[in-house]
Amino acid sequence: MAVATTVALVGFSRGLEHSTIEVYQAHGIDLVAVRTGVTQQNTSSLNESAGDRIRRVPGVRDVNPSQTDLVSLGDGGLVGIPLHGWPVDGFAMQSLSVTEGRRLTDGDQWGVLLGAGLAASLDKPVGGELEIESQKFKVVGIFTGLNVYENMTAVARLIDVQQLMDRPGQVTELQIALDGATAGDAAAVAEVRRAIEAVRDEQGQKLGLSAVPARQYVESSTEVGLARAMAWGTTALALVIGSLQLLNTMLMSVIERIQEIGVLVALGWRTSRVVRMVLYEALALSAVGATVGIVLGVLLVRWLSSAAWMGGLLRPEVSPEVLLASLVVALVMGAVGGSYPAWRAARLSAAQALRYE
């Protein structure tokens, strides 16, 4: 179970991380500018106008101001759905693959685009209405995202989301696309980042921006960090419990076979061989447990990710690294859990063990 938990939880946290990175990359976002020191996406607050100054930085192709918040939809049935507010002519909005209806225009006040998965979960066709934070929105189009994560998002006009969140003129992040030559040159990217971080307002005051590559931004975000920490924290707990269970199993096994071990000692088996036998048995048990746990973990994440109540928000990612780590962890558990029983077995006196009933 510990291995299944490792596979499932770590798979989910990695899935969330990689899905988010993919979305940024799919929209052509090279850098993300946020207020310095802010790691939590939804609490960051920047002046939208900073985007105009960043646009003037050499090497920057375009800037997409983005206001994102997590909302509840479907009468509270779906929680934590990202709602993005983007300019209708911004490169992020333009890169959406709208498969039903059309893109948003300046005239679409309180219009919304739904990801295909979200539209299906809410059963909202184009032209339908839905309520977001007590405001009625009309579904203007449905887009097909790159992955499950993006398919469970909604996009509205930036100005509408700012009004809805009562944050006029504010954005949570500035998404930056670099020109082709700059994006492929690490030194040039570093130069652009320095230039963005040095941008000043009309009064000559630094804006206090931090520009980081999209991947780094996602990896260091509080949301992803929390998911990762919870996954590994729960996994660590499961592993401790698993080790104790294995220790108990092996201890029972040794106690039940005291006479048998006594016979082996009487027949001349060295202590080291008896210890190895118990340890190998624990390791074999762990290896079998790990294999079963990996299969269970993979099935569990597949089932969870396809469950209706999960809203399809999570995409599991069971990488070879996670499987290998699970196997190694299981074997370490086996060695730890088998050590004490092995030590007990090694201390058995053959004469006493043979008399043991």
Binding site: V263, V265, A266, L267, G268, R273, S349, A350, L354
Partner: protein
Amino acid sequence: MNDSLSNVERPALLRVEHVSRLYPDGNVTALCDVSLSVRSGEYLAIMGPSGSGKSTLLNLLGALDVPTSGEVYLDGQPLSTCRHLAAVRAHRIGFVFQSFHLLPTLTAWENVQVPMFEGARTCRQRGQRASDLLALVGLTDRACHLPAQLSVGQRQRVAIARALANDPPLLLADEPTGNLDSQSGAAVLDLFDTLHRKNGLTLVVITHSQEVASRAQRVLWIRDGRVTLPQE
């Protein structure tokens, strides 16, 4: 008593000098100042009532236990100074138990191989040796059977084959026919006779049975932890 072999001129394989064994937990003196010697190639029976200290003595002879005082010598070497008693048990001594003590999940052939893991034999050599020994005890056709699929007599013969696995000069048997019917018991004793006569094996057998003792060359009596004179 079988006295077809004369051992008088042979050196002592086992020598016990003033050995006592006290169990402090129960404040019991299981053996008190016991001295005896077993010559190489000798067939010795040790008789005595329950609780007389027979099994304690066998454990000391077999390096399964250490005396509280006194010394046990195997081939002239004091066991108390031996750093590798496991190696002594593996290569110098074969054990046959009353309850056979075969490993229940291993076949007869695999059980016979168990002591051979402490040795330099290859896997193939172990297998061949186990087959040879099963043939010696007349159980070739039972090689692939688990202990539960064998009769008690067959189990004891597998245990004897196992005891001979590393070709030890000394075989210690604790009530080897205690759990057997008379026919199986006789077969086991015949096997002991053969091993003694043809292979020159030194045998020390603990027994209650006068019939078993009658097969030995010499009988020692033990009572209340002390070796006494032979009794009629």
